[in-house]
Subunit: 139 residues, 2 copies
Amino acid sequence: MTDRLQLLKEKGYKLTKQRREILRALEEGTPLAAEDILAKINVKCRINLSTIYRNLNILLKNGLIRKISTLGQADCYELVDPDCRHSLACLGCGNTIGFSHCHFDQIVQELEEQTGYEIRGHALELFGRCPACRDGHSS
Amino acid sequence: MTDRLQLLKEKGYKLTKQRREILRALEEGTPLAAEDILAKINVKCRINLSTIYRNLNILLKNGLIRKISTLGQADCYELVDPDCRHSLACLGCGNTIGFSHCHFDQIVQELEEQTGYEIRGHALELFGRCPACRDGHSS
DNA sequence: ATCTAAATGCAAAAATTTCTCGTTTAGGGG
DNA sequence: CCCCTAAACGAGAAATTTTTGCATTTAGAT
């Protein structure tokens, strides 16, 4: 059983197959909108979009995933993962690339001391213009 | 005329009173949802919600504002400002505090070199549990 | 095997965001 | 100034995204 399932179980959540499937979909690494998750769920698993939203909210509250809004029109969700991946999106064409190594440990620690918050995770989104959009039209 | 208006003008956008009012509302510093902006617009200025969304998208595309999704259910928008303010939200009660000094210059520069993107701005959201929620219930 | 709170599916509602189209307006050129 | 035109706007409809209520199912404990 994965760490994430373990944590949910300890918190008293039941490990339903829907819940497992949602996590499994997210474990691929790419940020996904609720609809995307639906599309990735095993055909054998009956699941409804509202179940997905309900679970995404639970996962959010427990700091297991983060919500990011730069990509697409619907919010996307991704695992708060150990190797800390983030996104860099082009404001022109929407092309997005990922990166790791955000080196936040220091900032996080300072803030925890200053505020008394226990920081569970972070979302970092960078945006700008990709090489193509930069050379092309000015909009 | 502010830098932001200047930039919009140079890009060929007209400086309508609606556009000015939206920016003025955002200049207060707090992240605002589209509805919040509507509520803050001067009563003398006739404006429609769709105008607000249209302009938010323009401002986004031009890197003048960022969209953040941790707070509330609707997306919020805030100016990409010179002193670089970000938010730390409690997963329990939603209480949010702001902070500055995210020290990103180095990360940004490295990424620009590696990717060829021109990075216009970033959104950073931290989340966790505030002291009260930490001591209180476990959910 | 039984029981119960938690979770789900479904359908409907609510909330958010985009779009169409007719009208208005900013700002440039006489 | 006044005119002109592309850009922007308002209004309302439509599309999309997200939440909710309720009857039914199910995980996990006894």
